[in-house]
Symmetry: C2
Subunit: 353 residues, 2 copies
């Protein structure tokens, strides 16, 4: 890069236009009020354009005490295939409000949420969105005063004695209805006539596992059926192996609800290898509705959608409602967002067999 | 949020500590030099801590003419499952240099790269990284003067008469060696004894398709074999359907090279449905090495890795080398990054059949 390409300053604009820096400032800030001749104004604007001079949004921010940026604090959201939808929808709303997003990924350094919030506060962000990749429960993050906070996928729980006292208000918090989604999945299998139904669950104790298992079990219990639960895991090969064992065992299921679309993909391959037709002999239902995945499996996967796009959109909208003093009208407190059923081709009427 | 939670100013700190704003400024900027009594310093620091006052990084930026932020311009990189690795590796290097990343996703508004660069220049970013999700060729983006630019996955091509003249220097540009990777995949199938080899390619004319097809065809030609090419598509079901047709046809292949891991996943399922063992009867090799995918297929997929992590890391390092005036030592011009073979379980010695 040549030395002539250093970033131009308002002094450069002034020199080129043959005026003072004060005049440049007045013209570029639109405060001319008859004090600067029309020809001079044109000369300043032309000089600024020729030099590629950009006004400093930072200087404007300092005056207004608003930076037109939102801080997004995440845990690896950028590398998660479907939680990216949440970040994207949130960024879209920010863009509509002429705000940019500065992202701090906690996994990149040994940052706590509090560290990240302080770092972003120093950059004068107007508001903070803390969004985790997976659904979590944890303490309410403490952020610098005066900066509105909204949470997505992270549900604050009080840690016994609440240090913040009675007055501590829950910020708008958006979580998916994992429990209701799992009930919906089980109901779909029951209402299509299935009685031998198994859930292939995750092999951990995450909030998603606990909520989805509870929803599945409650729905089966309400129908007078015994729930059967297999701790499989979260990946394609986990689903493959668990399904292969079920198919080889006694009383193989006719309906399988999977903790995740990827597990369902493994079930579909294991069924193919065992000569079991889906949905003819076996119905399979997933969870997530992962982009370019569930709808591109063979057969196309019926699943429960994680509402990440809606969560990201509503979370950012709630943040702007607070920034604009409309808190009363927007979402507040804990908002549990519905996980809808997406009907495709992998669930069919149960055959007696 | 209560009105007492407005963001504190240095005036608030001064009032609480019972000193002037100038004293607050001197203490918080570490410029006390014996002029402020130790007890007063402690009082100011305590007041700032109690109020949760954060110094304005923007004010510091204005003085230093550096904002300690990097602008990342992308096209949906946030929602791409594996290109996220590139953004993450780049952000990691920025974090090591104490810089934050402001992301502008072109798909969120009708932005051109130039619009985004101008928007980020107004925020005084120190440098710009333009990274596209898929490999592309296009004109060199024009960015405001004085801001170093680095490119990843986007290869600038001159548009006939170069408007920028002879002196226009190519910024550091990082692209994957798709051609070499495809040769490596074909070579692996050839050296394990396969002669009936098919490539399942994408159904478009993207740079990745052109380069990978050329690499595949050249490697087979060098081995005296006729390349067979099927325009399948990029998704799981595309691979499934194309493979099912091949298995039902005459002279089914013993080796399949897929444009992408997802296409290979469809081939594995189609093979399972047709009773074809992988790698016993059929060898399959993918491209991408998508996270939590290739290594979790059944069998684990042998594939060619897209070096997105290395590209992101080296691109951001090249940007900081320029910022720190070390351009001569770092990467420059077009850098083609190797796509290595990742050996797993899906390629075996060819059987005569």
């Amino acid at each position: 890069m040549s030395s002539s390409s250093r970033r131009p300053t308002s002094a450069d604009v002034a020199a080129r236009a043959g005026v003072s820096r004060a005049t440049v400032s007045m013209v570029l800030n639109g405060r001319v009020e008859g004090t600067v001749a029309e020809a001079t104004q044109q000369r300043v604007l032309a000089a600024a354009a020729e030099l590629g001079y950009t006004r400093s949004a930072l200087a404007i921010s300092l005056k207004e005490r608003r930076s037109r940026t939102i801080g997004l604090i995440t845990d690896e959201i950028a590398t998660s295939p479907f939680a990216g939808r949440m970040a994207r929808a949130a960024s879209m709303v920010a863009a509509q409000h002429d705000h940019l997003v500065i992202t701090v990924d906690l996994s990149l350094r040994d940052h706590t949420v509090e560290d990240a919030a302080r770092l972003l506060a120093e950059r004068q962000v107007d508001g903070l969105l803390f969004a985790t990749m997976g659904r979590m429960r944890g303490p309410l993050p403490v952020v610098p005063p005066g900066i509105p906070l909204v949470l997505a996928n992270h549900e604050p729980v009080s840690s016994g004695a609440d240090e913040r006292g009675e007055g501590a208000e829950l910020p708008p918090t958006f979580v998916p209805d994992d429990y209701g989604g799992a009930r919906r999945a089980a109901r779909r299998l029951i209402e299509t006539g299935h009685r031998r139904i198994v859930m292939l669950s995750g092999d951990d104790r995450s909030v998603a596992v606990l909520e989805r298992e509870a929803g599945f079990c409650d729905e089966l219990a309400d129908a007078g059926l015994d729930p059967r639960m297999v701790k499989a895991g979260w990946q394609i090969d986990d689903g493959y192996r668990a399904a292969a064992r079920l198919f080889a065992g006694e009383e193989p299921p006719t309906g399988v609800f999977c903790i995740r679309d990827r597990v369902a993909a493994g079930v579909l391959q294991a069924a193919a290898a065992a000569g079991i037709a889906v949905p003819g002999d076996l119905s399979v239902i997933g969870f997530d509705d992962e982009d370019f995945f569930a709808e591109r499996l063979v057969p196309k996967l019926t699943t429960i959608a994680l509402p990440h796009e809606e969560m990201g959109r509503r979370a950012m909208a709630a943040l702007f409602a607070r920034l604009e003093g409309e808190a009363a009208g927007g979402d507040a407190g804990l908002v549990v967002v519905e996980c809808p059923l997406v009907e495709r081709e992998s669930v069919g009427i149960a055959r007696g067999r």
